[in-house]
Symmetry: C2
Subunit: 350 residues, 2 copies
DNA sequence: TCCGATCGTCGAAGCGTTTCGACTAACCGG
DNA sequence: CCGGTTAGTCGAAACGCTTCGACGATCGGA
């Protein structure tokens, strides 16, 4: 491992000159610069990251706080990670993964105080998330993938759940569906203050009541079994349902299975829309699912880019909501039996 | 940010004494130790990771080289990552994610020479993988998740594909199936030297010919569409098939869909076994898939633990194969029409 | 022609640790 | 009571980089 010293000696300049060539902090004559670069090439020199980090007090590492929750890691979350890693890599930063959740505040305090990371991105943000406070105390720049309840002075990137739900409901109502059930995450997850579950719930209620329809929400465990149970419950509470809107990426396959068992054709008898879903997952089902496709890796990328801008000083707080895009596939179609009650309450032209 | 200096001053000792308390390298009297610890607590002291790294020439960071391939990231690969992150975290190490594949050797050389990582784990290992050579040149300890063709002197953890395939074939043959099709990854993936695709292919051929059966393998693009195409092709080449063995986690749903379209009941007409699959994914299908469940996060954990042992000096090369466990669910049953040709060729008792 | 800027370079002082050599005091066996 | 360990502590020198202040040389303007 060649050091800067070796380069300086070989190029017959001082160490500081080598450093200036590297950082561009001060002007260097073309002749000298050439000599130095040549020496570097010859010695196969690479600056030592630790030494540079110590001197600059910047590690060029950003952290991704990725709690490994009960919910597990769906395709959507995985896309955040890969997007974040790519963005960091593009900017010459490294991305360290830490399985630190809203509970492990001591671990976080340690990580933050060690000054190993220049900034962090938080995943799986709870409505009230203690990690934000800890990071602010320790002065570590942060950006949320998700949102807390109070976001003043914070940077975040999140899915625009409100618009996403609204669009999904619009799509179904536009097809003539009136009896729509929303299958959310589990009751425990909702109680824990998981933002997406909360926000979509509220948006669903708003969208449905806006149409004068009854908003029926059913929680489901994050598994196929949970989905089946949820659909069973839905059929009991609303035997006349013609459409299901599902937030829960794991439960959706259970919902489809239970519909199959009950001989309700998709989309003939029941239309299904999957929310915040990656195309790859939507294509797995048969028929392929009409879905609100999540921004996926873009979310992770944007979050890290915002964080890096914050570190540079360029760009302060960045708050952005990305909508999911409706992609109509095979799991939705016009409602089966347009009852007479259907007319009247200001449906959209769709 | 309190430094060691501050602690030393407050505790009225020298800086080195504080360091000895922290590292335990030299004996310290109980009284002094207590004073120092108290000072640390009072100042909320955390050692600076960069400084420590510079002095010890160890960053306490390990890298996970995780190429973001065309193949994307299935549940199985995600499990590797989470397992690795957890293992690193448990040992007080950090895990940095680098999207460095077998192609980006320059990026890797840079990462390795910067001495930012103490060691690395390689994912998505190709049969001939240039990354191994680069890391060995730069003297960075490494462990493979997967295997190259020549593994002498290397540490690796991999799935025991041979046994996994054998068990799956045994299961099907034991149920009376004779006409079994193996759906592998895509032809391009195989050509690129992706180990799992190659090894399972060879093992399948060996297992089938061992039973005196014809080994029919069909490659499939890693998507539902690819799975459907593959099954169509299989039905053409072997209209009498009664069982499908699928390696391709993405294609499997396409296979099921195409079977449904062709009105071949699962498992009544065709039994399906999914290889190297997580239970969560197996449960998504209806009926739930009989599968060889992958060791998942255990693989990532074991790999990182082996790497850390290598860094400590305790433990040299670690080579380990983990089998997938057969979990019988609803997608397999005895073969439908036991033709007369079925008897004779030494079937297992099962 | 002289002055102040600017350019190009150097030496040295950090950055916050670890670790080596040295020193003192206490302790042990003879 | 003495020489040799050992326990406990200190100061200073690394580790490999950045950055500050200084200095000679060059240059443009009055």
């Amino acid at each position: 491992m060649a050091t800067m010293h070796d380069v300086a000696r070989l190029a017959r300049v001082s160490v500081s000159t080598v450093s200036y060539v590297l950082t561009g902090t001060r002007p260097i004559s073309d002749a000298t610069r050439a000599r130095v670069l040549e020496a570097m090439a010859e010695l196969d020199y690479q600056p030592n990251a630790m030494a540079r980090g110590l001197a600059t007090r910047r590690s060029r590492i950003v952290g991704l706080l990725m709690p490994m929750s009960e919910r597990g890691f769906g395709a959507t979350e995985t896309a955040f990670v890969t997007g974040a890693a790519a963005a960091a890599s593009d900017a010459g930063y490294h991305l360290v993964l830490s399985p630190i959740g809203a509970g492990d505040l001591d671990d976080l305090r340690r990580l933050a105080s060690q000054r190993m990371v220049d900034g962090v991105a938080l995943m799986e943000v709870q409505i009230e998330d203690g990690r934000v406070g800890v990071l602010q105390e320790t002065g570590v720049p942060l950006v949320l993938i998700g949102r807390t309840s109070d976001t003043t002075g914070l940077s975040y990137v999140d899915i625009d759940f409100d618009q996403t739900v609204r669009e999904a409901v619009d799509h179904l109502v536009g097809l003539g569906h009136r009896r729509i059930v929303y299958v959310n995450h589990s009751a425990a997850t909702i109680a824990a203050g998981y933002g997406p579950a909360l926000r979509t719930r509220d948006s669903f209620v708003a969208a449905m009541t806006g149409y004068g329809l009854e908003p029926l929400m059913i929680p489901a465990e994050d598994s196929a079994a949970g989905g089946r149970a949820a659909l069973a419950q839905a059929m009991t509470q609303a035997p006349d349902l013609t459409a299901v809107l599902a937030m829960n990426e794991n439960a959706i396959f259970g919902i489809l299975a239970e519909l199959a068992v009950r001989r309700r054709a998709v989309p003939g008898d029941v239309s299904v829309v999957s929310m915040v879903t990656s195309p790859a997952v939507a294509e797995l089902a048969y028929p392929a699912l009409t879905a609100m496709t999540s921004p996926g890796s873009a979310l992770g990328r944007i979050a890290v880019e915002a964080l890096l801008r914050q570190l540079d000083g360029t760009g302060a707080h960045h708050q952005q909501l990305l909508p999911c895009a409706l992609e109509v596939r095979g799991s939705t179609c016009p409602a089966a039996r347009p009852d007479n009650e259907l007319t009247g309450t200001g449906l959209p032209g769709g």
